[in-house]
């Protein structure tokens, strides 16, 4: 598989007192060469902070300045943390839009941000607030080193096999923080008659680790792929869109073409609905709208299934915005949780803007397809008092099927 946006020169670390590679300089220059900032007013972080240091232009040009001797790496410690890794700027960029296919070139802000966070960390230059992020990483590494039973404890009583042609991959966030999500997913699949298994010991997939210690993360990625293959997987269903984006976009870089198909849960459920495998027995009489998770919509271009599911929900009145109009929103969490940990106030403002917007269309419920969005919006709702309920779309599907979660 050819990956258009994969730039292997990102692998060479940027170091204090060492020249920046020619390729990286040119890559950053390509964005500077535009500097029209078509993407800027759409960057959720810029919308709140209105500081162009923290935009695609900002991160690329800072790095270019470094290459040209006009920046100092230690001073740049906070430069790369203001990015949600949402991917909007990559899509809005004419380099990608109009040149991408023809020139085999794309703007890759998210990769650059991850790379620079990593390179800075390797030299002991960490952004303010990194300690809390390290705690999350340590916690998740401890899970990985811990007993199998803990990792699958969310599935207690569900009686799921540990192998199968169809496997559901459940990340640690879902397994420990938002277990209602994988539980709903599993119950829906079971009710629809799908035979599927889960891994005995899924390995760590946490984004914060990926942008801190790539080797460790890749090692875990390889184990996940090998274990899923060994379990007989032909199809792997993801229940967290962040992990979905890693499986779709990052895993093939490190593991080659995956030996199974990767499907997001909303696509899977939507197909079940279309095939009449899911029977709705109860209406969901609410005014709803839907929030596209950045990782699904912007990073993977996946937005259709949730809309079709919502349209199929009995009794539901929906006002759902076009996916492209949602490019400028994020829940505030970011694809790696580092943003929210390091910049909780900005994260909160981003969340408030999105909730207000949902309120403006007259919705009572904001439907979600991501556990991180759910957590972020729940916190934002409580803090702001904005009267709208964030609910995971799987919970509503389960409800309409008459399933208790």
């Amino acid at each position: 598989m050819e990956i258009l946006s994969y730039k292997d020169f990102y692998e060479e670390p940027v170091k204090k007192d060492a020249p920046v590679s020619e390729e990286l300089t040119k890559d950053c220059y390509n964005v500077f060469a535009c500097r029209h900032k078509f993407c800027r007013e759409w960057c959720p972080d810029y919308v709140e902070e209105r500081n162009e240091s923290y935009t695609s232009y900002g991160v690329h040009t800072s790095t270019l300045a470094l290459a040209c001797g006009n920046a100092s790496l230690p001073e740049m410690k906070n430069e790369f943390i203001h990015c949600l890794e949402c991917g909007q700027c990559e899509l809005k960029c004419p380099n990608t839009m109009f040149g991408g296919d023809f020139y085999h070139y794309a703007t890759t802000t998210v990769d650059l941000v991850r790379k620079m966070r990593r390179d800075l960390h390797a030299q002991g230059i960490d952004y303010d607030g990194f300690d809390e992020v390290q705690q999350v990483i340590d916690e998740h590494l401890a899970h990985d080193a811990g007993p199998d039973e803990e990792l699958t404890s969310w599935a207690a009583g569900l009686d799921l096999p540990l192998a199968g042609e169809t496997m559901m991959f459940v990340d640690y966030y879902n397994a420990f923080q938002t277990r209602e999500v994988p539980i709903a997913a599993a119950k829906i699949l079971k009710a629809a008659g799908v035979e599927f298994g889960i891994l005995k010991h899924p390995h760590v997939t946490t984004g914060e680790l990926y942008e801190t210690d790539e080797d460790k993360w890749v090692e875990a990625a390889k184990k996940n792929v090998a274990d899923l293959k060994a379990a007989g997987a032909k199809t792997v269903i993801l229940v967290n869109p962040h992990e979905y984006s890693y499986f779709i976009k990052e895993y093939p870089r490190y593991c080659g073409t995956l030996p199974f198909e990767v499907v997001y849960i909303t696509d899977y459920v939507n197909d079940l609905i279309k095939a009449d495998k899911i029977a709705f027995v109860k209406p969901y009489n609410k005014n709803v709208t839907y929030h596209d998770p950045c990782s699904l919509n912007k990073l993977c271009g996946n937005y259709q299934a949730p809309r079709e599911i919502i349209a199929a929900l009995p009794g539901t009145h929906a006002d759902v915005e076009k996916p492209i109009l949602q490019w400028k929103y994020c829940c505030g969490n970011g694809v790696s949780g580092a943003f929210r940990k390091a910049l909780p106030d900005v994260a909160y403002k981003i969340g408030v803007r999105r909730l207000r917007h949902a309120n403006d269309v007259g919705a009572e419920v904001l439907l979600l397809a991501c556990p991180h969005c759910k957590d972020m919006f729940a916190e934002t709702k409580t803090k702001s008092g904005i009267n709208i309920e964030p609910v995971h779309i799987l919970e509503v599907v389960a409800y309409c099927m008459g399933i208790e979660v």
């Binding site: 040119k26 220059y29 390509n30 500077f32 060469a33 535009c34 500097r35 029209h36 900032k37 078509f38 800027r40 007013e41 209105r50 500081n51 162009e52 240091s53 232009y57 900002g58 040009t61 800072s62 300045a65 470094l66 040209c68 001797g69 006009n70 920046a71 100092s72 001073e75 740049m76 430069e79 809005k92 004419p94 380099n95 839009m97 109009f98 040149g99 991408g100 296919d101 023809f102 020139y103 070139y105």
Partner: protein, 508 residues
């Protein structure tokens, strides 16, 4: 260009005043990191990367309201610290490019929409508001701010005023200078004044006193800092209709443009001609370009907006004019496809070629001359002659991306035009010597524009290296530049506002 000698202005040391600046705007809104300053050295025009360091401001300040701006200006005036206002930083005449470092006053944090008056049809905004975002808010009450440059999604109100910008829709609904009713300005000594068409905040016209408002259009941050503006809004048109016509020669397209211009159709948004070089450039490989029959050499585009009845009538009338002029209608796909991408297909750094046809990464530059109708052919052909001379001589350094010709004046479609040649330049390969050749090219273009009775700039400002000499020595030679100098010195006795811009240091 020889470096300006600023020594006689005895500027203070910005680094000595960081704490005072932090006291005014808050610590988090003062940025001293080299990278934060370095990224604010450039705006969108070709950038002398080999001299990047010379243009890095000493500090970046992000004010939040008028009082903060006023306090910053008082401090700057007291200690003689250069101040360069920065809007979106997408100006194409280097207005926000510091010539003598100093304080970069980044105005984008001031982005509040202060009042929407749906009875008197005005909106009051801070200068950091972007038009596209503004229109999303105005749409909720059926209003619309019609300034529509190709940088619609990026530029901000303060920069539109600072450059005296030009709107693609100006033939129908006016340009920024026609669309601002009044504004608040902080002068170099920190005084806050309101300038309008007379003293009213919202009147569109007045005979009371001098027209002080206009003085700030195109001032490029040399006279003060705009902190608030009251804008004239229009009703959102009921329908919009873009149409494209192919022509087999430049001459035929040029004549058709004239006929359209004098047709008197009121619901016009603009008329645009793409010359043969522009069509060739687009044919190269633009993913978004919809292929045209080979017989099409030039294209004329006509866009209308208004009530459905008006637009229908305009459409009929324009079709018959274009047909009689030898044009053939290129169809809906072409029209809507091109129109839809007009705001974001401008630049493609990888779209350029050397003589061997290989891709070379270059940066876009747009020469925005104003030209009277009678001289358009000589001018645009002359533009290509100049640019091609350099393309030929410096392989892989420059590239000619063709010309656009747009209706130029406000609320009219005749007389003068924005005749723009797009030039790409290879910034990464720039050397001091090549940069001088680039300035020579600019000088030749500016001279041709003035010689043929046009103006060096209709949207961006003529304050860049290369343009400025011709502006002072030729275009404004009949006393206008002397007047500018007198005004500058009166407003800004210490020359702290954007020093060196427009060579106004010569006033002192």
């Amino acid at each position: 260009m020889s470096k300006i000698d600023f020594s006689k202005f005895h500027y203070g040391n910005v680094a000595d005043h960081i704490e005072e600046l932090e006291d005014i705007v808050g610590k988090e809104n003062v940025m001293t990191g080299m990278h934060d300053r370095a990224i604010r050295a450039a705006s969108c025009a070709p950038f002398p990367m080999q001299r990047w360091e010379d243009h890095i401001p000493d500090v970046v300040v992000l004010p939040g309201d008028t009082d903060e701006v006023s306090e910053v200006m008082k401090l700057a005036n007291k200690y003689r610290l250069p101040v360069v206002p920065r809007g979106a930083g997408c100006g194409l005449a280097d207005g926000a490019f510091p010539l003598n470092k100093g304080i970069c006053l980044d105005m984008k944090r001031m982005a509040e929409i202060l009042e929407v008056d749906d009875i008197n049809r005005t909106v009051t905004v801070q200068p950091g508001v972007n038009m596209q975002e503004l229109n999303k808010v105005l749409a909720k009450v059926g209003m619309y701010y019609p300034d529509d440059p190709a940088s619609y999604g990026t530029a901000v109100i303060g920069g539109r005023i600072g450059t005296n910008g030009w709107s693609v829709a100006g033939a129908g609904s006016g340009h920024p200078a026609n669309l601002v009713c009044s504004m608040e300005v902080v002068l170099p000594d920190g005084q806050i004044v309101r300038v309008g068409k007379g003293g009213s905040k919202k009147c569109r016209n007045s005979s009371a006193g001098y027209r002080m408002l206009e003085l700030f259009f195109g001032h490029q941050g040399t006279l003060g800092v705009v902190t608030e503006a009251v804008l004239d809004c229009a009703p959102k048109p009921e329908v919009e209709f873009p149409s494209y016509f192919g022509f087999s020669s430049y001459d035929a397209a040029y004549k058709a443009l004239f006929q359209l211009g004098i047709s008197g159709i009121k619901s016009v948004v603009n008329y645009i001609m793409f010359d043969d070089e522009k069509i060739d450039f687009l044919r190269r490989d633009d993913d978004a370009f919809i292929p045209l029959p080979e017989t099409v050499k030039c294209v004329v585009m006509a866009t209308f907006a208004g009530t459905e009845g008006e637009v229908l009538a305009a459409r009929k009338k324009s079709l018959s004019i274009m047909k009689a002029a030898g044009g053939h209608y290129l169809g809906e796909e072409q029209a809507w496809g091109d129109w839809a991408t007009r705001h974001d297909r401008y630049h493609l750094a990888v779209h350029c070629r050397n003589k061997a046809g290989q891709v070379v990464t270059m940066s876009w530059h747009c020469e925005d001359n104003c030209m009277i109708h009678s001289e358009l052919p000589e001018f645009t052909h002359g533009l290509h002659k100049i640019v091609k001379k350099y393309v030929e001589k410096y392989d892989g350094i420059f590239d000619d991306a063709g010309c656009f010709i747009y209706t130029g004046g406000p609320y009219r479609t005749w007389g003068d035009y924005l005749a723009e040649v797009d030039v790409f330049i290879n910034e990464l390969a720039m050397t001091p010597e090549l940069w001088e050749r680039w300035l020579d090219m600019k000088r030749e273009i500016a001279e041709l524009a003035v010689e043929l009775g046009g103006s060096i700039s209709i949207c961006h400002g003529a304050c860049r290296e290369g343009d400025i000499d011709v502006l002072i020595d030729k275009e404004l030679a009949d006393g206008q530049f002397d007047l500018m100098k007198r005004i500058k010195k009166m407003f800004d006795p210490n020359n702290i506002m954007n020093p060196g811009k427009y060579n106004l240091h010569l006033a002192y």
